[in-house]
Symmetry: C2
Subunit: 349 residues, 2 copies
């Protein structure tokens, strides 16, 4: 039997919690027989829900939390007054080593603040980043940062590159992932000091990373690289612009199919194929914002998702835990710094 992993779940976070969380965990328990769950929240309520999910109940432990973080709570307030919330207690379980990771569909700002305070950063990583996967013409891409850091240094982008590369290799199963930095052109002279500085470091080959160079916005979906590195401002805007464009296209299609009887008939015949397109672009498939760089695995699920989307977010946490994601990041960053020190010593001789 493969190694067991335990995921703590903030059972009270999200628009449809706790029902959606329990149903999502139930789906995940089928997909991941190696997973155990620590369900944190309103215990009597969760116990009643579990009665209807025998499979999950068999691999699940309950932990009571009398309070919960509200969707509009300020991160600072959640941090000060939130010690008894389900979110905090789930993070505490990771800190205590009782769980290998945590998934929450609750308040993003509060989750980031609490996770940073309780778990701290990985050695050698200065700032956490939010990563997510997205569909491309060639498969999938992982992109970071998606909004944790409005302003970034070149060093931060280099660290994002390391984390993204390890993620693509271990979780997405890409053998030799390529990494690109998002820019306004592919020439080395393009962009600002931050992207050019990060590119210079990655070009040295000091890190075991296949650096592609700069990429442009349309390279994201083209699948030019496996890892897209960018600052949180640009990444957030790009991700939401892509979501908006897909929705626009869907709306135009729906309107077109309603245009005439012949078009309606065409739709009926092509319905199954079109469902396939919707499935490939289904936001639930890509539901899971990985908070990378923290000393513990933290995955943020979309607040409005359903059980299938939540199960996918759990899947990311399980995969990261199973593959020792954080240990690999630590080792790579450590080696990078050791090499730098050695080079500097050699240069000084």
């Amino acid at each position: 039997m493969s190694q067991l992993v335990t995921i703590a779940l903030d059972a009270m976070g999200g628009d449809h919690a706790p029902d959606m969380v329990v149903q999502g965990a139930d789906v995940a328990s089928l997909r991941h027989p190696e997973a155990r769950f620590l369900l944190v929240g309103d215990e009597p309520r969760l116990a009643r829900l579990l009665e209807r999910h025998a499979r999950l109940a068999a691999v699940c432990e309950l932990r009571h939390a009398e309070d919960m973080v509200g969707g509009d709570d300020r991160p600072s307030a959640a941090l000060r007054r939130g010690r008894k919330t389900s979110m905090r207690k789930a993070i505490d379980a990771v800190k205590a080593g009782e769980a290998d990771g945590i998934v929450s569909a609750g308040n993003t700002g509060a989750l980031m603040a609490m996770a940073k305070t309780v778990l701290k950063m990985l050695p050698g990583i200065h700032r956490p980043a939010i990563a997510s996967t997205a569909p491309t013409m060639r498969g999938e891409v992982v992109m970071l940062d998606l909004g944790a850091n409005i302003e970034c240094t070149a060093d931060s982008l280099v660290q994002f590159a390391v984390m993204g590369e390890v993620f693509a290799r271990t979780v997405l199963g890409v053998v030799k992932p390529t990494v690109g930095i998002l820019n306004v052109g592919i020439e080395t002279t393009k962009g600002n000091d931050v992207v050019r500085g990060a590119a210079r470091v990655l070009e040295t080959g000091r890190l075991p990373i296949e650096f592609h160079g700069f990429i442009e916005g349309d390279d994201i979906t083209r699948g030019t690289v496996d890892v897209v590195v960018t600052d949180g401002f640009t990444g957030n805007v790009a991700l939401k612009t892509a979501e908006g464009t897909a929705r626009l296209y869907s709306q135009f299609l729906r309107a077109a199919f309603r245009q005439s009887l012949v078009a309606r008939l065409g739709y009926l015949l092509a319905r199954r194929a079109l469902q396939g397109v919707r499935d490939r672009l289904d936001p639930r498939r890509y539901n899971g914002g990985m908070l990378l760089g923290l000393n513990g695995i933290v995955v943020k699920s979309h607040g409005g998702t359903d059980a299938l989307g939540f199960a996918n977010a759990i899947g990311f946490a399980v995969d990261m835990a199973k593959h020792g994601f954080n240990d690999k990041v630590i080792a790579e960053i450590h080696q990078f710094h050791a090499d730098l020190v050695a080079e500097n010593k050699a240069a000084a001789v």
Copy 2:
């Protein structure tokens, strides 16, 4: 008869020049009976092409240019050595008052550098911006900057807002255009100093602009506002990400329709409706990067476009010239500064 406008065309710029330029101008001459053209380039070659376009020939003047700007020429080199190029001579015609605007499908960097040097900026505008229109669920949006300014100040964003608003009002015909600043969230505390600083100025209501506030990436296609204001880095990435996402969706659709015989039949029945969707998203419809803020109307066409796309770029130049776009921008900026001075005086009393 409505007022005549003359547009200078860089006949040698673009992948398929000069044939595409002449054909595009011919289409535009049908659409815009009020337009006259100054076709600048290899005169013998253009004269031969014109023989096949009697309608265009009747409203067109030729001007010889012995040289042309190459697609890979550096802007600085084009600026120094490009005085005899078709691009430069077309810009010179605007400077001399012989033409009301210029359209080129040539090298963007060279066009920007030459236009800035020859035409100079509009009074009160510090930096030019590239603007483009895009489809939304409610109609069209104009977005700027799309790459002229990698880094922007709050003042620049305010000036972009003025130019975008005048464009939406005069060229797109929106009666009271709303303006939004692209950000990572809609709350006033979100983002960096640049977007927050610009928002503070626009919120005062000192400018005759309907300021909506901050918008997110998915608001672009939702049609939340008529004008999207952003820095050139974010705008360039967002625009190309949107283009890439639309292409991804199209590719998924094509693959789906090929999946089975039934799906193929469905496609055949819905073909006309699907063509309508393609038309609504056709990049040629939105072909035209307006270089705003210059003391002259300058429109950059995509280099790889065809005659229809080029005709659309000409259409933007004609509309801006007809509606006195630059005069309206000057008046609005002037009024804004006059109000500021008056307020400061009043405050000093």
